[in-house]
């Protein structure tokens, strides 16, 4: 699959997941890897990219067992970006469906 396309889909999936609430890396990557065949390592690259773009920020929070977990939180800018990308995706799918 085209790499840029893949990146777009994965970014959208990650942001859409975080709109439902903050999650830590393990939890987030597990949810997405269960649905799509994508490694956690790849998702950490996506997360880093989204963070550097200002769509996410991170904070540490104590975990009941073991060291603190790094949580990911979507920013207002991230929500706006997710909304735009989602609309683009839906419009893309709609067009593709006509061809299938």
């Amino acid at each position: 699959m085209d790499a840029q396309f893949k990146k777009g889909v994965l970014e959208l999936c990650v942001l859409s997941q975080l709109i439902k609430g903050d999650e830590y890396g393990y939890e987030l990557t597990e949810t997405i890897s269960n649905e799509l065949s994508v490694t956690a390592g790849t998702l950490y690259l996506i997360l880093k990219r989204l963070k550097d773009s200002g769509y996410l920020n991170t904070y540490l929070k104590e975990s009941p067992n073991g060291p603190a977990r790094k949580y990911y939180h979507i920013t207002e800018e991230g929500k706006k970006y997710q909304e735009e990308q989602k609309a683009e995706w839906l419009s893309f799918v709609q067009k593709a469906e006509k061809l299938l």
């Binding site: 893949k6 990146k7 799509l36 065949s37 490694t39 390592g41 067992n65 977990r69 893309f92 709609q94």
Partner: protein, 269 residues
């Protein structure tokens, strides 16, 4: 999407070896990137192991280091080496972006159109994306027609003291082309047509504008505090949201979008 998961476990490594190798291979990347990635991978090991999974299983989750390295350029596309030069360049770019965003936000929030581009020949879009473009003698127009069917075109109608518009092309991975706005006029009707992609278009309507007609595919339409004789909106999948408006004749058609009208006075003929 199976391409992302490469076969792992061909060479059995320990957690320690895996992380050391990752650190070595990330050494050419900026400190901030390397540190965040190592933190994330270490955190993943800690979490996985504390849930009783084996080191091998966690490495399988994370994918092979080759896999990660192969994906860096495409998925992260950040700077390879951190130099002061690069950092300064990024900083300047961020500052410019920020100042553009602020200018735009302030203009649209106030609904005023100072420092805008004067647009007199009314033939095609001349401003830079994001500029508010004033229409000279805009009060001679009584109807506006907006069409955006090539992409995702969001339209916002805003009452104002004169006719103007603000256009921003929006390319994305799913529709990479830059949208183009062209304008036409025919007697008392003004036409704004977005072609070739996705965009956001704000149209500032003076009191003299009595009628608006919109034809959109997947964009949304929003209007607030409008006073019109007639509005006609035809959409495929976008939503329409009208609030606090007085409109005599309303025609809305949406194949799969939501229609919302709030605090408005309507008189359907």
């Amino acid at each position: 999407m199976a391409v992302l998961r490469t076969e792992s476990g061909k060479t059995i490594m320990t957690k320690q070896e895996y992380l050391e190798q990752l650190q070595r291979r990330l050494s050419a990347y900026p400190e901030d990137f390397r540190q965040d990635m190592l933190d994330a991978f270490e955190g993943h090991f800690q979490e996985g192991l504390s849930q009783g999974r084996s080191e091998e299983e966690v490495m399988d989750d994370l994918g092979s280091i080759d896999d990660v390295m192969n994906n860096i350029d495409v998925l992260y596309d950040g700077p390879k080496k951190s130099s002061t030069e690069d950092n300064m360049q990024n900083l300047r770019k961020n500052l410019n972006d920020l100042s553009d965003t602020l200018t735009r936000t302030m203009k649209s929030a106030a609904g005023v159109v100072k420092d805008s581009v004067d647009h007199t020949d009314w033939s095609s879009f001349e401003g830079t994306t994001g500029d508010v473009v004033n229409i000279k003698d805009g009060s001679t127009f009584q109807a506006v027609y907006v069409k955006g069917t090539d992409g995702n075109v969001d339209v916002e109608l805003v009452p104002s003291d004169h006719l103007a518009y603000q256009f921003s092309s929006r390319s994305s991975l799913f529709s990479p082309s830059q949208a183009v706005l062209s304008t036409t006029f025919n007697g008392s009707a003004a036409g704004l047509v977005v072609k070739n992609g996705s965009a956001k278009l704000t149209v500032f309507l003076p009191e003299t504008m009595r009628s608006a007609e919109l034809e959109l595919s997947s964009g949304n339409c929003r209007g607030k505090a409008l006073s019109l004789d007639r509005i006609d909106i035809r959409q495929q999948s976008g939503d329409t949201d009208l609030a606090s408006s007085k409109i005599k004749d309303v025609r809305l058609k949406s194949v799969s979008g939501d229609l919302c009208i709030k605090d408005s006075v309507l008189r359907t003929l």
